[in-house]
């Protein structure tokens, strides 16, 4: 029986040890190996030999990228069980740092993502370097910002603010805003963006969400004004309505005649049925509440 046949046979119903053998067998096909990888996590840290073989696949630039990515996934799954993975962690982190500068962008991003999840200082340093000096960047700015946002304690706020001012792309700007959503000093920036009708909808919705986390009272204020503004976009009004419904003061809302009138108009005139429904639900909650009293 040839290696391929053996591998094909064993890959149908493999024990994790058998899967490990196929996953690290260079003679098996890419498909067989990728499939075997998904069944290998339990065996990967059973012995040092298994670990080193799997890490060798990740490091080997001559291997197919799919196989290397599958090996990274296998290791990440195994690492999820911190106690069982204790003896393997040191070599695993060292290997990830090694391939974080791999020529393959997919491998780089995968390794950097896994390290960033561990709040690894090496990744933070590389991401900040890349944002300050794009020639050194290992990943696009939006990805770097996303990876930095895993840890609020990085030095990324100043860089993110610069990106919001001069964004290299719309995606980068949005990622920068997501990162700044944890920065209390950025609340005024989010207020400004929320009220700016020239901003993209995504940016304004993101600003509403950030403002709710940083200064909920301000969001209530702006949400009310947005709902009172006839020239405001429906979807932004609907977001404001949701914010008021979830976080607003019930007592005050049920007494706010001007606001209830605006919501009533939205419930009949909105183009989207979804927004009409949302407005009606709001009125049912607050108008009825007022009547009950």
């Amino acid at each position: 029986m040839t290696t391929k046949k053996k591998a094909a046979k064993s890959s149908r119903k493999m024990s994790s040890r058998a899967a490990m053998a196929v996953a690290t067998d260079e003679k098996a096909t890419t498909k067989q190996r990728v499939k075997a990888m998904s069944q290998a996590p339990l065996a990967v840290c059973e012995t040092d030999d298994n670990l080193q073989k799997m890490l060798a696949v990740v490091r080997n630039k001559d291997e197919a990228v799919q196989v290397r990515l599958a090996a990274l996934d296998t290791l990440a799954t195994a690492a999820f069980s911190a106690v069982k993975f204790e003896s393997c962690r040191n070599d695993y982190i060292a290997a990830l740092r090694e391939v974080a500068e791999d020529p393959s962008q997919e491998i780089r991003e995968s390794a950097l993502g896994l390290l960033a999840g561990e709040k690894d200082p090496f990744v933070q340093k590389k991401m900040l370097e890349g944002l300050k000096n794009p020639q050194k960047a290992l990943v696009p700015p939006e990805k770097a910002l996303q990876l930095l946002s895993y840890d609020v304690h990085t030095e990324a706020y100043a860089v993110a603010r610069d990106i919001v001012k001069n964004p290299p792309s719309e995606t980068a700007k949005q990622e920068a805003l997501r990162l700044l959503a944890a920065d209390a000093k950025s609340a005024p920036l989010f207020e400004k963006l929320l009220r700016d009708k020239d901003e993209k909808r995504e940016v304004r919705q993101l600003s509403a969400s950030a403002l709710n986390a940083l200064n909920p009272d301000k969001l209530q204020e702006h949400a009310r004004e947005i709902l009172l503004d006839d020239s405001e976009y429906e979807d932004i009004q609907a977001t404001s309505l949701t914010a008021l419904k979830r976080f607003g003061d019930e007592e005050e809302l049920s007494k706010d005649k001007a606001l209830l009138k605006s919501v009533d108009r939205l419930s009949t005139e909105a183009k989207s049925a979804k927004y009409k429904r949302s407005a009606k639900q709001f009125l049912q909650t607050y108008v009825d509440k007022d009547k009950d009293k």
């Binding site: 040092d48 561990e118 990085t154």
Partner: protein
């Protein structure tokens, strides 16, 4: 102590630290969390900077009692692999291995073993993973080996870790070597077994007169977990308080989360002593811009903290700087976010002044409560105890003198009182029962000075008073011995005075290191 020029970047910081190897005092100063060099740096950068300072101390051969607390702090509550590894490495340069250090190393090993990332000491912020690299677990194992016989107490725990099969291949080899060293080492005699060095400064106490007043922050406005505004003076004046600092975004479970959970246990202890209405508690956030009332309330609720009028979670509504300066908080920031902080708990007296602080190492709930009870008890002492103490001492001394001059018969009594005729007391009848009362008062004075002498450790006063009393009694037996009577009075007066002065002086000694 401030350095002349602040480094503009990390490269300059490295040069500066390397240059300071010749000046360990300046180097040690860089371990203060609130050092301006750490302003506006990311947490990861601060980790590298502090790690480099620890390694600088090793190179300088300057790891001493003064620096030990910073090293133990990292082993006690550190979760960063690089800093824990650097601390373990630095401990091996401490000149006096001691059994008290082994539990710190073992605790760090248990805490960091699931985050045993590769670290490198080859250069600043180096990430090389070659054979020269190390790891926190390997450094801690080497340190246990360095402790050798002093690590015998943790041998079973270490054996259990090795048996669990959790260590990496490299770490396992190190662990087996360490076990071998500890097993082979001969038992050592330690005079101060299991005691940390006396100079290890992690708990401080200030007697009443040495306490700084809280005027500078009296008007600071806080908001509690329900959004209720209250000033420092309104909340902290009137009864003693136990205060801890925290912030909800702290990612070290051994610091803020544990501190607030321990505050909840402190509250339970106060309740069990029925002191929860007399001693209040507060947890104040370092991050008031982000930690809004709702956030701190949920953080407290999740850790079973009691929250009411006397027990509050607080945030300042303005800048945190005045609070930072008053408490001399061990914290630093990047923008409004904490980049590094120490563990810190305080006991405030009823005037809001700091009476005690517990810093860096994990504090014991009972110990903090006991200190707060002492502060509660001193409430009356501070305000009114000094004058009565002197007065009672003088009255008891006068009793001794009265025993000497007490008249033997009604005629002598009348003669004595006629001399005091202008005071209008000449009509008081002769009272023979007064003599035993005066003797009892004299004995009470002797007991009192002995108790005070034992409390202050100064026994000259009690000896003099006792001798004086014996002389007075002897003079009463030998009725003609005036010399004995005078000697008794002088000795009693001198002894009583000396005891009172010693007692007052012992209260005035300033900041005291408890351990």
């Amino acid at each position: 102590m401030e350095l002349v020029t602040a480094p503009a970047n990390e490269e300059e910081f490295v040069d500066l630290v390397d240059g300071l190897v010749a000046d360990p005092a300046q180097l040690m100063d860089l371990l203060r969390e609130d050092h301006p060099f750490y302003n506006e740096r990311g947490a990861a950068t601060v980790v590298h900077m502090r790690g480099w300072v620890l390694l600088g101390l090793v190179r300088a051969g300057a790891v001493s009692d003064d620096t030990l607390v910073f090293i133990l702090e990292e082993l006690d509550a550190g979760i960063d692999p690089y800093l824990v590894a650097a601390a373990a490495c630095a401990l091996r340069s401490y000149p006096q291995p001691n059994s008290a250090l082994a539990p710190f190393v073992m605790r760090a090993l248990n805490q960091i073993r699931y985050h045993d990332d590769p670290v490198s000491f080859l250069g600043y912020a180096d990430y090389s993973s070659g054979p020269e690299s190390t790891s926190p677990v390997r450094e801690l194992l080497l340190t246990l080996g360095w402790l050798g016989p002093h690590a015998r107490s943790v041998l079973p725990e270490l054996e259990s870790i090795v048996k669990s099969g959790g260590l990496s291949k490299k770490a396992l080899a190190d662990a087996n070597r360490t076990l071998e060293i500890i097993r082979r080492s001969e038992q050592v005699e330690e005079n101060d077994c299991c005691k940390l060095p006396a100079g290890l400064a992690s708990r401080f106490s200030w007697p009443g007169k040495a306490r700084r007043n809280a005027e500078s922050i009296g008007a600071t406005v806080f908001e509690d977990q329900d959004g209720t505004a209250i000033t420092f003076n309104e909340f902290f004046q009137g009864r003693p308080s136990i205060v801890v600092f925290f912030y909800t975004r702290c990612d070290n479970p051994l610091k803020c989360s544990l501190t607030v959970a321990k505050l909840a246990r402190v509250q339970k202890l106060l309740e069990s002593h029925s002191l929860d209405e007399q001693i209040q508690t507060a947890a104040i956030t370092y991050d008031p811009a982000f930690d809004l009332p709702d956030r701190i309330r949920r953080y407290g609720e999740n850790r079973s903290v009691r929250m009411d009028a006397l027990h509050r979670m607080l945030r300042t509504t303005g800048e945190i700087d005045p609070l930072r300066q008053h408490f001399k908080l061990g914290v630093n920031f990047i923008e409004s976010l904490v980049n590094r902080h120490r563990i810190e708990a305080y006991v405030l007296d009823s005037k809001g002044r700091i009476a005690a602080s517990f810093e860096r190492l994990h504090w014991d709930e009972q110990e903090v409560v006991d200190r707060a009870i002492e502060v509660l008890d001193e409430k009356d002492e501070v305000t009114s105890s000094v004058a009565p103490r002197v007065t009672s001492s003088m009255l008891a001394t006068l009793a001794s003198i009265a025993v000497v001059f007490f008249p033997k018969c009604p005629i002598c009594w009348a003669a004595y009182l006629s001399m005091l005729g202008i005071a209008g007391v000449s009509q008081i009848p002769y009272s023979p029962w007064l003599q035993p009362v005066l003797v009892v008062l004299m004995i009470a004075n002797i007991v009192s000075v002995w108790l005070r002498g034992r409390a202050t450790g100064r026994m000259t006063g009690p000896y003099l008073v006792t001798l004086g009393a014996l002389a007075i009694l002897a003079s009463k037996i030998d009725s003609g011995s005036l010399k004995l009577a005078v000697a008794g009075i002088v000795l009693t007066l001198a002894g009583s005075l000396l005891t009172v002065v010693s007692s007052l002086n012992s209260r005035d000694s300033s900041k005291t290191v408890i351990c």
